[in-house]
């Protein structure tokens, strides 16, 4: 037996009419319960919206596109869930003991922006030479742990991101420690040792500034008004004028805080250096003897046409053993002479400390000069750090940008979800009303 379309249409129309009639009869029940359901769904979504939060983390530096940290090591976004970051976050929130890093990590999800779950084989993509994607933006989502119910989710996310930034900046970005003058106690140090220390510190600062000047020689700080070149010049002045002046003053006056100890140290130095000098000179003489040993009849060389350092034609010769021995003899002699200079310098200082008569108030003056040098280098260091900070900000916009997710009406209340829930409820309540009506008709 066949069934016609007309029959179906009739049947549907009849069912629809029955449904409408039943719903009409109980419209207040339907409307009266639907409104609280919508309200409840919206309240839930509102509550839910504040249980979850997300931010977009964007990497603002050149090497990010190569999957690297600013220091050239491999970038790893999962570090945001590292114990170190999470433990610091928990500690900052004052929740130590209430929550473990692992528990918190389970509520954090990370997804790369623009990178969906891969449906196509990665291997195929690479084999076909297709462009592969290195993410530079990530969405970090956090679903609040029940232990943290008293704290706003956005605040937790802020603390988390601050801790991640701290680790990021401390471990992977450019570090300014080299610019910082490392202060030590000079009271026990001899004046000339202080001078060596200052030289060491100033040279380190200079190297950093030189690197920056090579990178961007024209950048000028808005706060300090300095460029890296101008700061470098100041360090040069410190090394070549201030420090030299101080050393000369100390040496000329034969100043020493503990004469016996200092001379003892210099003498020991000289003993060692003499020993070293003797070693080098011994070596030098051996190489000379070796050259003498060579018999000219069996050390013939071949002339080879080549070019010199100016790219002009030049007739060179193949090297023979004598050449190597001569090079080594020259090298050891050079080293020995450097050692000799140190010995002479130490002897001069010993002599000065022993014999020179210091002018009146020379010690106080040296101390004052020392103080002034500390102030000078500290001042340069501070300005260099400030200039460098501004430069990093200018160059990288602080490496990371954290953008919180937009919270507008539709995203807070998730209107689509609310509409779907309401629709489902409407269907259920209508079905219930119809069944109720049928039941009523039956009895």
């Amino acid at each position: 037996m066949s069934i016609s379309f007309k029959d179906i249409r009739h049947s549907w129309a009849k069912s629809a009419a029955t449904l409408l009639n039943s719903v009409k009869k109980r419209k207040w029940l339907v409307i009266g319960t639907l409104i609280p359901v919508i309200a409840a769904a919206m309240c839930y979504q509102y509550w839910e919206a504040y249980q979850n939060t997300s931010v977009t983390l964007t990497l603002n530096y050149e090497s990010a596109a190569k999957g690297l940290y600013p220091n050239g090591t491999r970038f790893d976004i999962t570090k945001i869930k590292s114990d170190q970051v999470l433990e610091n976050t928990i500690s900052d929130l004052g929740m130590e003991g209430e929550l473990t890093a692992k528990e918190m990590g389970e509520h954090i999800t990370i997804s790369a922006v623009g990178q969906q779950m891969m449906s196509q084989s990665v291997q195929e993509l690479a084999q076909n030479g297709e462009e592969l994607f290195i993410a530079t933006s990530y969405i970090i989502s956090y679903d609040k742990n029940k232990e943290l119910r008293g704290i706003k989710t956005d605040d937790i996310m802020d603390v988390l991101m601050n801790n991640y930034k701290e680790i990021f900046f401390t471990e992977y970005t450019e570090n300014q420690t080299a610019l910082k003058y490392d202060e030590i106690d000079f009271s026990e140090k001899e004046y000339l040792e202080c001078s060596s220390y200052f030289e060491c510190e100033a040279q380190r600062i200079k190297r950093y500034l030189f690197g920056r000047a090579e990178e961007n020689g024209t950048y000028q700080s808005k706060t300090t008004g300095e460029t890296f070149l101008s700061l470098e010049a100041e360090v040069d002045d410190f090394l070549n004028i201030t420090l030299e002046k101080f050393s000369s003053f100390v040496r000329q006056n034969g100043l020493s805080k503990d004469k016996a100890s200092y001379i003892g140290k210099l003498n020991y130095d000289n003993d060692l250096l003499t020993n070293n000098y003797n070693l080098l000179m011994g070596e030098h003489n051996i190489h000379l003897k070796a050259i003498d040993l060579y018999d000219a009849a069996i050390t013939a060389a071949v002339l080879v046409p080549t070019v010199d350092e100016d790219n002009n034609f030049y007739m060179s010769r193949t090297k023979v053993g004598i050449d190597y021995q001569a090079d080594l003899a020259s090298e050891t002699s050079e080293k020995a002479n450097r050692v000799k200079m140190q010995i002479d310098d130490n002897s001069y200082v010993i002599n000065q400390v022993n014999t020179a008569e210091a002018s009146e108030g020379a010690g106080e003056k040296a101390n004052a000069m020392l103080e002034e040098m500390i102030n000078t280098i500290e001042d340069i260091s501070e300005r260099a750090i400030q200039t460098d900070k501004e430069y990093i900000q200018y160059k990288t916009n602080d490496y990371l940008r954290v953008t919180p997710a937009v919270r507008d009406f539709s995203s807070i209340f998730q209107l689509r979800t609310v509409a779907a829930v309401s629709a489902v409820y409407l269907v259920v309540i209508c079905a219930a009303v119809v069944m109720l009506e049928k039941q009523k008709q039956r009895y």
Binding site: V122, L132, S196, D269, N285
Partner: protein
């Protein structure tokens, strides 16, 4: 038999269909959850020179399986605090070389044609890690990323940078060594570290650690400062104040060293003499022969003789050490002379120490000075420890840096799932929905057949006695508190019709009677043939008033029939009972009451009255 109505069957079984679909969906969800596996994968590229020949930066054979080596995995698990175990992770990781499709096609073609082909060493590798089914995709990503981080460090340490010199100066603290020995330990350790840093300065002058902020040059200067300005005080204080824990032992040790050095000198002298003799003999003999290589038979102008060979060897990288025996003999002479000279100079230093301590008296050593020296030594060691930790951090980062410079990432770690959960769930729901619908149709239709063959009286097209019994049984436990009517209809003259018109005539009248009852009261509920001349009705949508209307309609129908078929005219009786009105609340009671209430319907007299 009932007509084939798909919607009727679906309507009947829709709850079951919906339930099955939901269960299928849940089952699929559970299945995918239990069997889901996430794979994190990324592509790395080795960029070091020599990789095109399958070599690591140090020229050794590159073994990419080291990415999932025990050392690397163990480091990664340590960082993550994961206790999964090395083997559990290792068996889930894989490294696959990526051969570009054009290269692969070329190789395949050569193999097909039986031609030789050069071995292709891939620079790109696909690195995968599949997490167990109880772990998330993020876990897979975290494990893979950490393994790669550790591998980069491992790669830097193993193939590019060498491990660094340990800080031996800590051994000088609370040791049983003498003061001078401790000072020597500290000094040697610092010198070794300086030597190593010097090498790094040459290797990577530009490298600045992000974690410490220092370059190798910065660190070398710090070490140099300690070595030049601080450690000498330690030595001078010890030597000048003749501080020793045990003078005799110390002196014996240095005396022994002097003796050892003297032996070295003596040996070196002997060897030197022998070496000089060899050199002289070698020189004399070689002067007699021809040392120059000349191919006399080949006078071709283009032939540059030995130089050509040297150039070729140089170009093709096969040039090895060709130092002559003569040079080697001279080198040996230099080496032996150095041993002799070094031993002599060292003895001068040792003699100086001996002289300094020779006249030292154990009892005269000022304990205050000793304490000062100890403090100063502890201060230097502390300073060196702190500096060494900076050096360690710098070196660690340098290794990571070297790793990242030689192995680059081509793709951020992506996660793929083994099972498409949404698709599986949708498929489960859909399949069970389709199967459910099919089943409902088959079952519904089968029920129609059963009903037709078992529960239908084919003659009168009414449910038969069996169906009537089933219905009554179904109502057996129902207490009717609402309108419910049981009715009995009986064809009175069936026996006489059978007798007069034969069985066919009786059946015809009975058929007509059944049709009329159905027409008049079919909307009220169930109507069935109860055997003989009886029809019963179980009306759940009927009241006494409705029943009266129905009976009147039935009378009209029978009257109309009788008028047209006087030879088969119908006489019938009807009776009914209504639950609320008659206060009978069970089905059997209502049927009995209906039987009792049964009375003949006077159709003809009605007609006369109407007329």
């Amino acid at each position: 038999m009932k007509s084939f109505q798909v919607f009727r069957y679906l309507k009947r079984w829709w709850i079951l269909i919906a339930l099955c679909s939901c269960v299928a969906g849940l089952y699929m969800y559970r299945y995918t959850k239990n069997n889901q596996e996430y794979t994190a994968q990324t592509i790395i590229r080795f960029t070091n020179s020599g990789i095109e020949n399958g070599e690591a930066p140090d020229g050794s054979k590159l073994d990419v399986s080291e990415i999932f080596s025990s050392t690397v995995i163990e480091n990664a698990l340590d960082i993550l605090g994961d206790e999964s175990g090395v083997d559990a992770i290792r068996k889930r990781g894989s490294v696959t070389e990526i051969i570009p499709s054009d290269v692969q096609a070329s190789i395949d073609s050569k193999i097909e044609n039986g031609q030789d082909y050069d071995e292709y060493y891939s620079t790109d590798y696909l690195v995968k890690f599949t997490a167990p089914s109880d772990k998330s995709g993020e876990y897979a990503q975290q494990i893979l990323d950490t393994i790669l981080d550790c591998y980069f460090v491992f790669f830097g340490e193993k193939y590019i940078n060498q491990s660094y010199v340990p800080n031996n100066s800590t051994n000088a603290i609370d040791s049983k060594f003498d003061y001078l020995e401790n000072a020597e330990i500290i000094n040697d350790s610092v010198n070794e570290i300086i030597q190593q840093i010097e090498y790094k300065v040459e290797q990577a002058p530009e490298f600045r650690s992000a974690s410490t902020g220092y370059t190798f040059q910065d660190l070398m200067e710090k070490y140099n400062y300690i070595s030049e300005e601080e450690i000498p005080y330690l030595f001078s204080d010890i030597i000048n104040n003749k501080i020793t824990k045990d003078k005799d032992v110390l002196l014996k040790k240095y005396q022994e060293r002097i003796v050892e050095n003297q032996q070295i000198q003596a040996n070196a002298q002997t060897e030197l003499n022998e070496n000089l003799n060899i050199i002289n003999s070698y020189t004399e003999k070689n002067k007699e022969g021809n040392l120059y290589y000349q191919d006399g038979n080949n006078k071709d102008e283009n032939n540059d003789g030995i130089l050509d060979e040297v150039y070729d060897d140089y170009l093709y990288g096969s040039l090895s050490d060709q130092t002559t025996s003569y040079d080697k003999l001279i080198e040996r002479y230099v080496s032996l002379s150095k041993d002799d000279s070094d031993a002599a100079v060292t003895n001068e230093y040792l003699q100086m120490i001996l002289t300094a301590f020779q006249d030292a008296s154990q009892s005269t050593v000022d304990t205050e000075i000793t304490a000062e020296v100890e403090d100063y030594q502890a201060q230097i060691v502390k300073e060196l420890d702190s500096l060494y930790s900076v050096l360690e951090d710098t070196m660690k980062e340098y290794n990571e840096y070297l790793g990242a410079q030689n192995v680059s990432i081509l793709l951020s770690t992506v996660i793929s799932e083994k099972i498409n959960a949404k698709l599986y769930i949708l498929m489960g729901v859909f399949v069970f929905f389709v199967l459910g619908c099919g089943g409902a149709i088959v079952m519904g239709r089968a029920e129609d057949f059963i009903e037709y063959f078992v529960f239908l009286d084919h003659k009168f097209r009414l449910p038969n006695r069996n169906e009537c019994d089933r219905k009554i049984e179904a109502y057996e436990k129902t207490v009717f508190t609402n309108e419910f009517v049981c009715a009995v209809f009986e064809l009175r003259n069936l026996a006489s019709l059978n007798k007069e018109k034969g069985r066919e005539g009786g059946d015809k009248a009975m058929k007509k009677f059944a049709d009329s009852v159905k027409l008049a009261m079919g909307g009220y509920g169930f109507i069935g043939y109860n055997g003989g001349a009886q029809i019963i009705g179980l009306f759940d949508k009927c009241s006494a008033d409705k029943m009266e209307i129905g009976l009147e309609l039935l009378d009209q129908l029978i009257k109309s029939y009788n008028r047209d078929n006087p030879e088969y005219h119908i006489e019938y009786a009807a009776g009914y009972a209504e639950a609320v009105r008659d206060k009978i609340y069970n089905v059997r009671g209502l049927i009995s009451a209906a039987m009792k209430n049964r009375e003949d319907r006077e159709i003809d007299s009605n007609e006369e009255k109407d007329t």
